[in-house]
């Protein structure tokens, strides 16, 4: 752990791939799994004479993100060219937003703290290089995919806080349909800017940029390791050099990137092939109106409106699709707490066991409600319901069908039950006497006997009620 005279300062840059059908400036597909260079149009190859044309959906998603992160959405923002030579950058420049980004100055809660967001801008992703022996292969499928770059102020004060911020940010982006939140596959990427300063000082230290952080675990580890490195360096009398460092996951340490180039001179200038990006107040309002509910607001609503405990609210909203299914269930008439028990119980259990994503579940909210109502109506026992649900989960069949097929229905025919009760009482006169004499716990014996006679298909509640009536005398 770093010496306690030092305080780590972290700023985070997230690159989030946008969930669009086509790329930022061309109609090339963003579809997953295509062979190399299939998802390309002439602009992706940077053929002579090609020009960029903006994807309207990208603007919508950028506005949505800005609003969700409480930013100011700029009515005018500008496209810039950022120049460097690399085989995954076909034009020799990336179209980004340097001087005038689309959104600025927002915030996001990470735990107890509000972390300031400095800016959000739109830019193109680069292609991919694959190394093979003495050569490298260039695949432009990813080149031109739309990205949002979300930059925080250096407000974070620990590795844990950084991870909390990223989780909260990811949750928001997924909730509003902007990004799929996948770190491992690289659609949600983080770079961390880490510096240290002496506790009590207000002067920020020199920062290093950490790259290649593709899991929350690595992010935490990398920040901690880098903090340690910087503190040790300073304490030994050295100075931190501003540089980019890669996190080596094998060795658990950061190392300076072999200089690709010396400090890049990106030669930014305004993109002459695109007009200013103008966004009207009306456009912003339209997006605001149709904004999906944000996770924090939803959690609060679950507590206030559905009267669920905070813990339940958090579990249920951890997965967007699960929360949606829950709300559909409640809307269809199931009491929130009852529904919550099902969700936190059987449903979560089976999801975790099968690792099936909620969106791929075979049963619907309507079917679930039917099952719950069957239990309430006494058509099946609570235990049988679990069996029925397990089947529903696998097959997506209606509860009624399963109940019938497996003969799980409780018998509620009063006449039949009474007959069997009478038979049980007749067969056990001694216990009847004992019960009437005060051993009321014998009710269990009689319920058991009747259930046995009914081969388990009895409705315990009903049997109990009738027995009490008959025994009561």
């Amino acid at each position: 752990m770093p010496v306690s005279d030092f305080q780590v300062v972290v700023g985070l840059e997230v690159h989030a791939q946008l969930l669009t059908q086509s790329k930022l400036f061309s109609s090339a597909s963003t579809r997953f799994g295509a062979e190399p260079n299939a998802n390309t149009q002439p602009l992706c190859v940077a053929f002579p004479g090609t020009l960029p044309v903006l994807n309207a959906q990208v603007v919508e998603l950028a506005i949505r993100t800005g609003l969700a992160l409480e930013c100011r959405v700029n009515h005018r923002s500008e496209w810039s060219r950022k120049h460097y030579f690399y085989p995954d950058l076909p034009k020799g420049y990336q179209i980004t937003q340097f001087e005038f980004p689309i959104c600025e100055w927002g915030q996001l809660s990470a735990g107890e703290r509000e972390i300031r967001i400095r800016r959000i801008h739109i830019e193109e992703d680069a292609g991919k290089l694959v190394h093979e022996g003495s050569r490298s292969l260039v695949d432009l499928n990813r080149a031109g995919t739309p990205l949002l770059e979300i930059v925080s102020e250096p407000d974070l004060r620990s590795a844990d806080e950084a991870v909390e911020y990223l989780k909260a940010l990811r949750e928001v982006l997924v909730a509003i349909g902007v990004n799929d939140g996948n770190l491992e596959e690289g659609s949600f990427r983080c770079d961390a800017n880490v510096s240290v300063m002496r506790v009590g000082s207000s002067e920020l230290g020199t920062r290093c940029e950490l790259k290649n952080l593709n899991s929350f675990r690595f992010i935490k580890q990398a920040i901690e390791v880098e903090t340690h490195r910087q503190v040790e360096l300073i304490e030994a009398g050295g100075a931190v050099v501003q540089e980019t460092r890669l996190f080596d996951t094998q060795r658990g340490e950061t190392r300076s990137m072999r200089s690709k180039e010396d400090a890049h001179d990106y030669r930014y200038f305004p993109e002459p092939d695109l007009p200013l990006l103008v966004v009207t107040e009306k456009q912003i309002e339209d997006v605001r109106r149709t904004m999906p509910e944000l996770p924090r607001a939803r959690r609060t609503r679950f507590v206030d409106e559905h009267k669920l405990p905070q813990y339940d609210a958090e579990v249920l909203t951890a997965d967007l699709a699960l929360a949606d299914l829950f709300e559909a269930t409640v809307k269809a008439g199931v009491a929130p707490k009852k529904a919550s028990n099902w969700f936190m119980g059987e449903i979560s259990r089976l999801i975790n066991e099968t690792k099936r994503p909620v969106r791929e579940l075979k049963f619907t909210a309507v079917q679930l409600v039917a099952l719950i109502q069957a239990v309430d109506a006494g058509a099946i026992s609570a235990n049988a319901a679990k069996e029925v649900f397990a089947d529903m989960f696998e097959t997506g069949r209606d509860a009624a069908r399963v109940i019938e097929e497996k003969g799980l229905g409780q018998v509620n025919d009063l006449g039949e039950v009474e007959q069997l009760i009478d038979a049980a009482l007749a067969e056990n006169p001694k216990n009847v006497e004992s019960y009437r004499a005060g051993k009321t716990q014998l009710i269990g014996f009689f319920v058991g006997a009747v259930m046995k006679a009914m081969k388990g298909k009895g409705n315990p509640k009903l049997i109990n009620e009738l027995l009490v009536k008959k025994l009561g005398g």
Binding site: P42, F47, P48, P90, F269
Partner: protein, 485 residues
């Protein structure tokens, strides 16, 4: 070869067929282009197939319009699908575009016959066509001299009667200046009037595709065919087409024409000045008012243009790296070698110079002083024109301060070549439409052009003004001596 409209009339009256026109064009090229060298390559098969298709349509009463069946040439920085397009550079030698430029597509849709691709200064950077990596084009009016540039090939092909019309591109004067050197009409539309999709980019905020024709009426027809909003070009204007043919003969009575003081200074060839002032007098006689105006920032246009054009060029030419298409150096061992050698082998000197200049102007520490400063001065230059158009309808000036020079004469002095563009650069910076129209000849029979500049989207107006001069003077009738003689 006659003009486009004449040729169109001969087709509709069935006096000629497109196949005949196309064959005649190919024969003229065969006969004369050995001396002129305007074409980089021909597409006889493609052209004859298009000609036959056109005749077929016509016979069935389905002719597409005025350009249907007419042979045209395209400057070799305009992409033609399947037909090699080099931009005059070794770095694109062998490049076969997998798609057509929008203007190419529009011409094909209009039924035009694309005969071949014409020579240009490499990447359109130059004023004499001498910077082509492949050949020098000769001025049909004097084969020892330049036809101007960078659209020298297109201008020469039209001047020599090999085709009735051609497309060129104009970034700082590359259509207008060659037009003035070859006694043809060269039109640069308003920036945004014609799509740049599929046109090899030099300087994005300045490039425009335009027309080279013998007559003003032909320019109007060709402009109409290539204009219009293109969803592939975010800077193309969503406006109705120019419709310049309608009012072409309306004359200049009641119009006010401005002569900018700053264009009539020392350095302007006296013969050229005389010719342009004669044109002004001609306009007055026709009922226009001619007055002096000032465009005070004119003398800064050269520097402004070069900083901006070279900066944008250095950026646009970054894609030529030997990775995905174009020239790749033999057996590169490292990525650096791949880039540095491919580019150095593929680009000519002038291109490299401009890339260097542009890279410098955008680089850290110099960006504000060079690029940003130039863009601010550009705004002032635009304002000069905005001011001027408050009191005049169009502006008249020489197109070039000098007459066509001898091939090889200006190659050692970088500035001398650049100075040839001073009269056309300001309008490029301002994005305004301008046309060069024949205005006479020097004592040794070299063509002189006058430039008419209009406000934004004023193509119809400037063509009308140009037509008035043409109708009076009929300079276009004086063709070159037979090339090759």
């Amino acid at each position: 070869m006659t003009g486009l409209l004449e040729a169109a009339a001969s087709l509709s009256s069935a006096q000629r067929t497109s196949v005949e026109l196309t064959q005649a064009s190919l024969e003229a090229i065969e006969r004369d282009d050995g001396a002129v060298k305007s074409f980089l390559r021909l597409d006889p098969e493609g052209a004859m197939a298009a000609a036959r298709a056109s005749d077929e349509r016509r016979v069935q009463g389905r002719a597409l319009g005025p350009l249907d069946g007419l042979p045209l040439a395209l400057k070799d920085n305009i992409l033609t699908e399947g037909l090699e397009t080099t931009a005059g550079s070794k770095i694109l030698k062998g490049f076969k575009p997998p798609f057509d430029a929008t203007v190419t597509r529009k011409l094909r849709e209009a039924g035009a016959v694309i005969i071949g691709k014409t020579n240009l200064d490499e990447f359109a950077m130059g004023s004499s066509t001498e910077a082509s990596a492949f050949q020098k084009t000769h001025n049909p009016y004097d084969l020892t001299r330049t036809p101007g540039g960078s659209s020298g090939g297109s201008a020469a092909a039209v001047a020599a009667g090999m085709v009735g019309g051609a497309l060129g591109s104009d970034t700082g004067g590359s259509i207008r200046q060659p037009a003035s050197f070859t006694n043809t009409v060269g039109l640069k539309p308003t920036w945004g009037r014609v799509s740049r999709w599929g046109v090899v980019a030099f300087a994005s905020s300045l490039d425009q595709v335009g027309t080279l024709t013998r007559t003003v009426a032909d320019a109007a027809v060709l402009l109409e065919a290539i204009s219009g909003f293109d969803a592939n070009d975010s800077t193309s204007a969503d406006l109705p087409k120019p419709g310049a043919q309608a009012g072409l003969e309306a004359g200049v009575r009641g119009l006010t024409i401005g002569l900018p003081d700053e264009y009539f200074v020392a350095g302007l060839d006296p013969e050229i000045e005389r010719a342009v002032r004669a044109a002004a007098a001609q306009y007055e006689a026709l009922g226009a008012t001619v007055k002096r105006i000032s465009l005070p920032h004119t003398r800064h246009a050269l520097a402004t243009y070069y900083v901006i054009a070279c900066s944008e060029a250095s950026s646009n030419l970054g894609r030529y790296d030997g990775v995905r298409y174009g020239h790749r150096t033999a057996d590169p061992k490292t990525l650096r070698e791949l880039y540095n050698k491919s580019r150095s082998e593929g680009f000519g000197d002038e291109v490299k110079r401009r890339i260097m200049l542009g890279t410098f102007a955008l680089s850290a520490g110099y960006y504000d002083a060079y690029y940003v400063k130039a863009q601010r001065v550009r705004t002032l230059i635009k304002r000069d024109f905005d001011e001027a158009f408050k009191t005049v309808d169009v502006i008249l000036s020489p197109t070039s301060p000098v007459a066509p020079w001898a091939l090889g004469e200006k190659l050692d002095d970088p500035l001398a070549m650049y100075l040839a563009d001073v009269m056309t650069l300001p309008t490029s910076l301002a994005g305004l439409p301008a046309v060069s129209v024949p205005a006479g000849f020097t004592a040794n029979h070299l063509p002189i052009g006058a430039q008419v500049v209009g406000p934004a989207w004023g193509e119809a107006l400037i063509l009308r003004v140009a037509r008035a001069l043409e109708r009076e003077t009929r300079f276009f009738e004086k063709g070159p001596h037979r090339a090759g003689v």
